[in-house]
Symmetry: C2
């Protein structure tokens, strides 16, 4: 059965107080829902998205080829997160470029496009904005909140900021904070964007240009870190782009020689056609800033003590951006608090991207976990 997706929009007139001390508002959130909220309003699952994704989690848009949601293999009728039993909400985060209020929109007070004046939003701010959306949808408590990577940070943050509103949290390929290397990669990407002459300090909209050069570099670099060394060697290795039998090097410094170069340039070009530069800065900063243990002197166990949810954490063996070691830190901290935690380390070759891909063990693990939630909730 094909799931038809239908984006919706909710307007919020009351400003949202942000961690940075500023307020954002009025604002809108774009979201999609799949399945039916049951009479007890107990079967809702919130999906939080990562850097490059949106509210469009599952299903397709009528008449649009290749319009599957970014987690369509995970969410839908009969899928691991089964929309025949669960009411699933996907929401686009503030600051994004896919519909919710972001830097491309007009500041209601000034009448100017936000651009670089859009406030710095954090994981905590996103969670609070999502909570308001759930209020409007009449959802007091989530059966589960779920996300991978930056989405997993939001899922974790939900359990800390709204502990009574989350029964289960699925934190996948995530981390309790970014380490120095991850911040460093983000910073290189941000500098590539911010030093692109077409960036104009973040106010490029006024100039009718887009800092595509910077966006391309950011995306190329991102792609390297999403893939494992092994999968890059398997997919591309040292193969030449024009790999005819006996083909030799072209000896060029500016043209494409190896297939991996062609792949990265293509990914960079695609990305620069649709992604917003200010959004890229904001989202990477939200990643950098997330660090619930910070207020607790680095004691993650103390930071997570507020959580009342049960947890499923999943990591992937070849993920060097959000490594299994980082998931294990969270597992240890939760166990110290006597939280209920399940943890799986999936032996997968695909690196960080694995959380989006079809891996039978991974998908069946998530399926089992949701089966259990449904049984507990009486809507199996």
């Amino acid at each position: 059965m094909t799931l038809i997706a239908q984006p919706q929009s909710m307007h919020f007139t009351q400003a949202l107080g942000l961690r940075c001390g500023r307020e954002l508002g009025p604002y809108q959130l774009v979201y999609e829902t799949y399945g039916q909220l049951n009479a007890q309003r107990s079967n809702a699952v919130l999906i939080c998205h990562a850097l490059n994704a949106s509210h469009h989690v599952a299903g397709t848009y009528p008449g649009q080829d290749k319009s599957e949601g970014w987690w369509d293999n995970m969410v839908g009728p009969g899928k691991p997160l089964d929309t025949d039993r669960f009411f699933v909400v996907g929401v686009n985060n503030l600051g994004s470029c896919f519909g919710s209020t972001g830097p491309m929109h007009t500041h209601p007070q000034t009448g100017q496009v936000y651009g670089a004046d859009f406030p710095v939003v954090t994981v905590e701010d996103w969670v609070n904005s999502q909570a308001r959306l759930l209020d409007q949808l009449g959802i007091e408590q989530l059966a589960a909140v779920m996300g991978g990577s930056l989405g997993g940070m939001q899922a974790l943050s939900w359990t800390l900021q709204h502990p009574d509103r989350v029964r289960h949290a699925l934190v996948i390929a995530s981390s309790p904070n970014l380490n120095a290397e991850n911040i460093a990669f983000n910073e290189v990407a941000r500098r590539a964007i911010a030093t692109d002459p077409d960036f104009h300090g973040g106010h490029f909209y006024r100039h009718g240009v887009v800092p595509k050069r910077g966006l391309r570099i950011a995306r190329m670099l991102g792609h390297i870190t999403y893939l494992s060394d092994d999968v890059m060697n398997a997919k591309f290795g040292r193969r030449l782009r024009h790999a005819l039998a006996g083909a030799s090097f072209q000896y060029t410094t500016q043209d494409i020689e190896f297939e991996i170069e062609s792949y990265l340039r293509h990914q960079g070009d695609k990305f620069s056609d649709y992604f917003d530069a200010n959004t890229y800065l904001l989202i990477t900063r939200a990643l950098d800033y997330f660090d619930p243990a910070r207020e607790f002197g680095g004691d993650l166990s103390a930071a997570l003590a507020r959580a009342k949810a049960d947890f499923l954490l999943i990591s992937f063996s070849t993920d060097w951006r959000f490594s299994p070691a980082r998931s294990r830190e969270m597992v240890r901290a939760l166990l110290q608090n006597r939280s209920t935690v399940s943890y799986a380390e999936i032996d997968a070759p695909h690196g960080h991207d694995a959380f989006l891909l079809d891996d039978a063990r991974y998908l069946s693990l998530v399926r089992s976990y949701f089966d259990q939630i449904a049984q507990q909730g009486g809507f199996a």
Copy 2:
């Protein structure tokens, strides 16, 4: 005792045939020598440099503070490579920006600065140019050739192109070729440079500008890959730049927040002040292209069968750019050929940079190896 370094220059009128099919010439090589060539001319050691280095391997320039050579901890009187016993030659490679003929120089035929028209040079070309320099210096056979990283590739290549001219090869923190991930990082750096509007297709000299934005990005990215995750966490972690007690985030996307950002920006700025953009493209391409097994259908053992030298290979446990696994590939191939090989995997926290740093086990290992060479050669 302080070693005083003195750069010298050698002019070559005969053009050098290159792998790319083009010829380069006339050209000059800048080099330095330390110690004395013995009467038998048997105590010469050639040092090959990596991406960012030069002929200035050891010693200082009179009256110049902090002018120590890049491997001054390794080479000098009483050092592991002891210039009281060995005659050491450091040579700047063609295409570099430190004195030997490169893209910043004028093409003798056209009277124009080479810029992007400088021919693509390879590791093999460098080795051939170094061999010509040794001819002029009256050195028929090297006691040893030694290099780290890209320098190690040159050392390996020496044993294949001029097997009778090398008694020992020290191949440190190196690889028999780059894998897809390494090529990918190089390509991101090259694109950052080549898409900088100030690059002008490589002819920026004519425009009186320098593509500093691209060079900064390239260098920032490089630095991430030279360091290990562990050492970055130890040196920088998540520390804020303004880390006063209780200091909070500034919530900024374009300004520096974390110390690691400050470090990377500083490194990028420094680099963009002195390094040449075309040289960066050329040297990263030389890295990409090096692959002696390619002509042998990928059979590294067959490729290395020509070598007659004895080998010392060294790798560092946390080097993820030129990992120990890549050194082990070379060791296995050499052992299959019954070459004489010593191999050490040094447990060091510093990542790829370790080959330049003071590690007692590493330095004493190299010292012992050169002691042995000196004893064999009768100049101990």
